[in-house]
């Protein structure tokens, strides 16, 4: 996928990422060239200051693809739901 077919994904934000971005979720059409989680973060940061601020400290942003923890280098592949959140603090 990815390389030759743009596809629409739902992006979800939790905790202070949700507060900084100002929304719980949004549907976006991934442009060509956005292959990995890190690519997506870079692309989002071009969309406005709230994204720049939300992702300003990448070391405290975690991601999940279709509800599975992944690293920033993970390929988005055919994922339909991409979530960004801080390190978890439950328990």
């Amino acid at each position: 996928m990815g390389e030759n077919a743009a596809h629409t994904v739902q992006i979800r934000y939790f905790a202070w990422l949700r507060e900084k971005v100002g929304r719980e979720s949004e549907d976006v059409e991934l442009p060509a060239g956005v292959e990995t989680v890190a690519d997506l973060v870079g692309w989002l940061q071009q969309r406005g200051p709230q994204y720049v601020e939300a992702f300003a400290r990448p070391q405290v942003v975690r991601a999940a693809l279709d509800k599975v923890h992944v690293k920033p280098t993970a390929a988005l592949g055919a994922a339909r739901e991409i979530a960004f959140f801080p390190p978890v603090t439950g328990g």
């Binding site: 905790a15 509800k67 599975v68 439950g90």
Partner: protein
């Protein structure tokens, strides 16, 4: 052998009784209860809001429990995690591990908590007595605790 996310409180004795029923092989039951503390780093905590990622939470909790059951011979296990608005002294999380002997029950309960703390998508926001609120930061100690099981 189950995981739950809920707003309501839980009762340790009632959950234990339901879980072990009449399993006569169980000789050891370890429970862990996590509560909202009234103080954190000297700040007076009035309330705690627990947010989670519905769907992913249950999947992660079930995976953590399955991992515990593959590592230790457990007769029964349970993880209950509350979400929503909590106040100081309220219960947050309950873990129960039951086995024939105590070592497996202790280790599995410790493992469940360590993994829950570092993998299950829950986030805490504290509100102090003066009305300020802030997201709780993750503790390096929790990452270190989880690493010892690798």
């Amino acid at each position: 052998m189950s995981v739950r996310v809920q707003r309501e409180d839980f009762d340790v004795s009632a959950e234990t009784a339901k879980l072990i029923a009449d399993d006569a092989d169980i000789g050891a039951i370890v429970t862990f209860t996590g509560r909202v503390r009234g103080k954190d780093d000297g700040r007076q905590i009035a309330a705690l809001t627990l947010e989670h990622y519905p769907g992913m939470t249950e999947v992660e909790m079930a995976a953590i429990e399955a991992e515990a059951r593959s590592r230790w011979p457990l007769q029964a296990s349970l993880v209950v995690h509350r979400v929503g608005e909590l106040k100081a002294g309220d219960n947050i999380v309950l873990v129960i591990a039951a086995s024939v002997h105590r070592q497996a029950a202790f280790e599995a309960a410790g493992f469940l908590m360590d993994y829950l703390k570092t993998r299950a998508p829950f986030w805490k926001k504290e509100t102090t007595a003066s009305g300020d609120s802030a997201w709780v930061e993750s503790r390096d100690a929790d990452e270190d605790a989880a690493k010892r099981w690798r």
